[in-house]
Symmetry: C2
Subunit: 397 residues, 2 copies
């Protein structure tokens, strides 16, 4: 090990010098920022950066080292830009309209619900209008009740788009939409709508999908001959249903199945739906937790049409488009890493009308009041097309 130790000592000595030079470079960079601010020049000077990469490559003595130096200086220049944004920001920025919700009383969770983790909510009271997409008794309704409790003035719409429109036009203060299922992945239609509507995410809520077998009051397991549900509902209860010799019929959603059983008052019929649907439609629970996998959950977002966030918000969602160029995505990601921001998700979706071009959606840890977040976003906003902050809210695991 002595040989390795000696080599590592050599490296340590080199590294101490690199750190010294790095700090010198940052000091000069600060003077550049002051100068640029004085003459109103942009922080990002792509021509100068390209020229610099060419020069340092020429100083290297092998192709490998030229590539290494290129990567290193791309990183160095990103850091310099960060420093410059940091010094210049504060006066004005892309997202200055995005203001904290000041002086609001953050409420702990109220009302009966299926989750036992208390967390913080946006302000609402008895008269607050809330819209959710889907039918009463379905999981969207359950998410609405879980987040807002039973006291708000809620209504439902059939489609995600109608929910977006209701928020846009102010027909409701808040909207509730599914964004991801832990088994099937993201709900792409909702991503696409978030990309084009000027609505903002202000909260998240996770509903654990737990199916029950529901039937008319007085019916018993022996009476059942037919079972109704959404195709996914039937699939998720395969073990329970196998060997039952019941006819399985698919409907549009689990709540519609419960409604059908209620309406037809036939003791040979059952529905696979949530226990909440049982209460809602006056049905009896013949068996609960009948789904195969016990960790299937759906994540919902709470949206509104105003740019607000809680002081305690800990996740930011943004979207942007990128030009077709090698390394562009890497440059964007470096803004997160250098600012110490943990990226939780990256998704790409086709941009309508632009063949094989994509809009990116990134979720990362942080609050818009944090300096490092503002630095990263200033950089990303200046290096992407159609950059938008989609929201800042409390993330639920």
């Amino acid at each position: 090990m002595d040989e390795l130790l000696k080599l590592r000592n050599d490296i340590d000595a080199i590294d101490a010098q690199i750190v010294e030079l790095f700090e010198k470079r940052m000091a000069v960079s600060e003077s550049v920022a002051a100068y640029k601010e004085k003459i109103g020049k942009d922080v990002l000077d792509s021509d100068r950066e390209r020229e610099k990469i060419g020069k340092v490559r020429e100083l290297a003595h092998s192709e490998f080292n030229a590539q290494g130096v290129e990567a290193l200086f791309n990183q160095l220049m990103t850091i310099s830009r960060m420093r410059q944004y940091m010094l210049i920001s504060g006066q004005s920025s892309e997202y200055s309209g995005f203001m904290p919700v000041s002086g609001m009383a953050v409420k702990a969770r109220e009302g009966a619900a299926a989750e036992d983790v208390p967390f913080l909510r946006m302000p609402f009271d008895k008269g607050t209008k809330v819209v959710y997409s889907g039918v009463p008794g379905a999981y969207g309704h359950q998410a609405m009740l879980g987040y807002f409790g039973p006291e708000v003035d809620c209504f439902n719409v059939a489609t995600f788009r109608e929910c977006m429109d209701a928020i846009k036009h102010g027909d409701a203060r808040y909207g509730v939409l599914p964004i991801e299922n832990s088994s099937t992945g993201i709900i792409t239609d909702v991503y696409d709508l978030m990309g084009v509507y000027d609505n903002y995410i202000v909260g998240e809520y996770v509903v654990r999908v737990s199916h029950a077998l529901l039937a008319c009051p007085g019916a018993s397991m022996e009476d059942i001959k037919t079972v109704y549900s959404h195709p996914q509902g039937l699939l998720q209860c395969r073990s329970f249903l196998s060997g039952k010799n019941w006819q399985q019929i698919s409907l549009n959603n689990t709540a519609a199945a419960a409604k059908k059983v209620r309406d037809e008052k036939d003791k040979t019929q059952a529905a696979v739906a949530s226990e909440m649907a049982a209460g809602f439609y006056g049905l009896e629970v013949l068996a609960s937790k009948i789904n195969d996998l016990n960790n299937n959950s759906t994540r919902f977002i709470i949206i509104q049409n105003r740019r607000e966030y809680l002081k305690e918000a800990n996740q930011i969602s943004i979207c942007f488009e990128l030009p077709h160029a090698s390394g562009t995505l890497y440059n964007i990601l470096s803004h997160f890493i250098f600012n110490g921001l943990n990226m939780n998700r990256i998704e790409s979706r086709p941009i309508p009308g632009k063949k094989w071009q994509y809009r990116f959606f990134v979720d990362f840890d942080g609050c818009l009041s944090q300096r490092q977040v503002r630095n990263a976003l200033t950089g990303i906003a200046s290096e992407t097309d159609n950059f938008r902050i989609l929201g800042n809210y409390i993330h639920v695991e």
Copy 2:
């Protein structure tokens, strides 16, 4: 501008010294690689890297500089690891079983098809068995014909999974599956199956979705009262259909609509389907190119159960799982960038049974015979879980 010029000269002087130190560090790194190889030690030593980051942070004189130095040294250590992988690789690697298709006659495109760009194919002849998912006359069939021509011995299966199984069990040499639509995005079920089957992508084919109005021979536009198609088909021809006052009925796929019109021989019925379906079902084309957007295409993959690739292959697909840790994805991406590899796509999909954990799919430019590709993959394989190369093939834009 003199002031800026002076500052930039200062930076240039600092940078020349940084390049010099970088090259010194790489030289020592080479000795470390030789030593590690001698004693059989892994290139990646996470403890040493963490310790190094701690040390260089302490050398910095501000929190900003400590963060900057951390980012810079993460990059430097990544480059050092690259150099070490490069020196050690060649003897053995994760993907040594992935061999070029040697001495094969690469054929130019044959047969009548809808594309006019000639490109290269995997070997096949009259007796080659090919399976596609979907029904005859649908776009999957069209992709199969486009890539292989009409001479191969083809059959169809109803589901993506059956197609995967047919390839896995050797019932067919090649399989054809849709992977992405330019308007609706990726086909997630096919991604998920690629993640769990040991099948390999050996080709791509893009079918331009172009709908036509098909009817029985002898029927004219004035006869039509009802039109059948897949819901997407009807939606995509909204402009053409609006004002026609025809009843619109949705079916499972566009080819089923054509088949229904053929079977029922009713001159008041029409189908929205491909022109190929017209030929296949003996129907007449009353109107062609009736879809609103003229740039809707579907990308198909060609799969087989052997690890092979063409010498001319220019895109690699991989998948891997990542531990939940800040910066991990960034480290993975740096392998691409430093090796000069352009990333075309990154997708994440939930891992079944692991709540809110994801499998990543990355497509990037390159051929497995290239040194820089082998370097990047050696690094990524050692830093991720369940790393797999999904294929190396000719990418079609």
